[in-house]
Symmetry: C2
């Protein structure tokens, strides 16, 4: 979630990006509009110009962006899967390991922005929460499709995708609290056989 292409981003894009970064680190409530502008090197006056809907709109766009980012991550990891490892367990392990590395690299400072918005729903009565729901859906859908492509029967693709997102999200939470990645690796190891068994019974 740190790498971005070489092209320059507009201040508006940078603010959405920065909002997602700050939200997943500090939570929604603790992330101020002024902080977002400063982190994005964007003028403070642009906030009310690009986001007339206020903080709700900014948070909503940030979480939507995060959902699309997570979806891209799934398809990218699927495409990068070695031909010898085209099993669902390998895909999940790759996803988990990517989050694990991120945890270690940032000293467990970063969580998932979608989770942060879901938990910190004090503001934005509905708009932010529905955006979080769509982000989860946007994340789960390509994951289910990837599982099916790896041999999981179509009927179980969506269910297993829900399970994987749940386990990943929960393990990320535990890992952050304990400052230890063992929950992430444990989840990957325990769920791997289940996934491959589901794929074998084509």
């Amino acid at each position: 979630m740190t790498e971005q292409g070489t092209r320059t981003y507009s201040p508006r894009e940078r603010m959405v990006f920065s909002a997602a970064q700050l939200i997943r680190r500090d939570g929604v409530g603790a992330t101020g509009m002024r902080d977002v502008a400063a982190h994005a090197d964007a003028p403070r006056g642009s906030l009310q110009h690009y986001f007339p809907g206020g903080k709700d709109q900014l948070v909503g766009e940030a979480v939507t962006w995060a959902g699309r980012y997570a979806a891209r991550r799934v398809t990218r990891n699927l495409a990068a899967l070695p031909a010898a490892d085209r099993r669902p367990s390998r895909l999940f392990a790759a996803l988990i390991s990517q989050w694990t590395e991120e945890c270690l690299a940032t000293d467990f400072a970063f969580g998932c922005p979608v989770a942060a918005v879901t938990v910190d729903c004090a503001d934005a009565a509905d708009s932010a929460r529905t955006a979080a729901a769509q982000a989860f859906a946007c994340w789960r859908e390509p994951l289910g499709a990837a599982l099916v492509e790896l041999g999981v029967p179509e009927a179980r693709g969506a269910s297993l995708a829900t399970l994987l997102v749940s386990a990943l999200e929960g393990a990320l939470l535990i890992a952050r609290a304990e400052r230890d990645t063992h929950a992430l690796t444990t989840v990957a190891e325990e769920l791997g056989p289940l996934l491959d068994a589901a794929a074998l019974s084509h």
Copy 2:
């Protein structure tokens, strides 16, 4: 998390209890000290008296209380398991269904306080986060023991407990965002066979 015994609780206990309630509904940042006192029908002046450590201390005690509550819930569900259903899948299903009912009863307003504290770590540099870590441990430990008692080999008890807490926590997150309990039921259904299979290979 709503039922409490008949005995009267001291203002201090009520404030810890109320803090946990408000935190899991609104998040840490959005829960004000004044709100806690009002919700607990406790005098505002008692806050600085009982919690000289300030908000950090109150949040820490609230999440510790929540962890112990979750642990109690595990042992209680294990004890209440019908003799015919002494399988790990049944225990997990019972836990999931309890959270599901809570979601529906509160219109998805309540999440898990431990998750809220973990995500909203802006305040309380370490004390709150370590309290959250201990709460997770306090929750996972009796769950692992219960799995072992239901036939899971001792070596896998802890791992499976970590998986179950992760999946439950993540599914709770998704359910809250989507205002739909399908993630919870899906997780229970998908994980049930895995658990019973692990128990059969005594």
